[in-house]
């Protein structure tokens, strides 16, 4: 049976601020630049979720697309969209809101809710801007 990877893009908009409380204002400004400005700023994030598994012979599908959309919306979009991530999300109360940490958080949220009947969660890509992208492989898989 053929194994494929299917990727779907999702979007959310959110604000954040990069700041380390143990550093001085000047040191934070030097390390994070504009991303440290005191009131935060926002992005239109694009997130790509990749699943990997066998193609169902009867349906020709690797995953029920509506079921995948539902879990991503429930676990990620509803949680992240139109929020100030530093203040509105408890997991970032003490964790810096970098795209790296967001990708890992998204992976953990999806994993915790991932149905057993689903193909494997294979890869997560989070694009903060067109120039800044984090790739997080979750499994090695068939690549």
């Amino acid at each position: 049976m053929a194994t494929v990877r299917l990727t779907r893009n999702y979007r959310f908009s959110a604000s954040h601020r990069l700041n380390l409380p143990e550093l001085s204002f000047e040191e934070n400004q030097r390390l994070f630049g504009k991303c440290n400005n005191p009131y935060g700023h926002g992005h239109n994030y694009v997130m790509a979720i990749t699943v990997e598994g066998p193609v169902n012979a009867a349906t020709g599908l690797v995953v029920d697309p509506a079921a995948l959309d539902a879990i991503v919306h429930e676990e990620v979009i509803a949680h992240y969209d139109h929020k100030y991530l530093n203040k509105d999300l408890p997991e970032f109360a003490t964790l810096t809101v970098t795209t790296e940490n967001m990708a890992a958080n998204i992976r953990d949220r999806l994993r915790a809710a991932w149905p057993e009947s689903f193909p494997a969660l294979a890869h997560i890509r989070v694009q903060e801007t067109k120039r800044n992208v984090i790739e997080l492989p979750v499994i090695e898989g068939v690549v």
Partner: protein, 136 residues
């Protein structure tokens, strides 16, 4: 090292399983189950794996790769109705998954004696949905 080339084709299709009820088809394939079909601008990315030839500096001549993609995939499928005109989609549901697998089947033999091997087929159905197939 990988080298890849992109090509586009536009085609129509219907995603319906004869094993499912009308209600189940609509639930699973959504608007894709519309009996009269609908279309996409598909984007195909084909990647070859190999080592650059010391004489030419190339893994594979991109013009030759373009010709193979045009001959085996784009020319036959462009502006066609996949279910009605492109076997095996009279019997196999032309989901993005099955279409990527069929494109691999058409391309893979073309590189049997080539200096590079087919690494992957990536097929975008829309800008926001794509399938990768690695022949496994």
């Amino acid at each position: 090292m990988l080298i890849s080339r992109r090509a586009e084709f536009s085609a129509s299709h219907v995603c319906r399983s004869p094993q499912l009820s009308e209600e189940e088809n609509v639930r699973l394939y959504g608007a894709g189950a519309n009996a009269n079909g609908h279309g996409h601008n598909y984007v195909l990315e084909v990647a070859l794996e190999g080592t650059p030839d010391p004489a030419t500096g190339m893994i594979y001549d991109l013009k030759d790769l373009k010709d193979v993609m045009m001959r085996e995939v784009i020319d036959p499928m462009d502006h066609r109705h996949l279910n009605h005109e492109i076997p095996p989609f009279d019997k196999v549901i032309p989901t993005t998954e099955n279409l990527a697998i069929e494109i691999w089947r058409r391309l893979e033999p073309q590189f049997k004696d080539a200096p590079a091997r087919l690494h992957s087929v990536r097929l975008y159905e829309t800008e926001d949905t794509f399938v990768d197939y690695f022949g496994k």
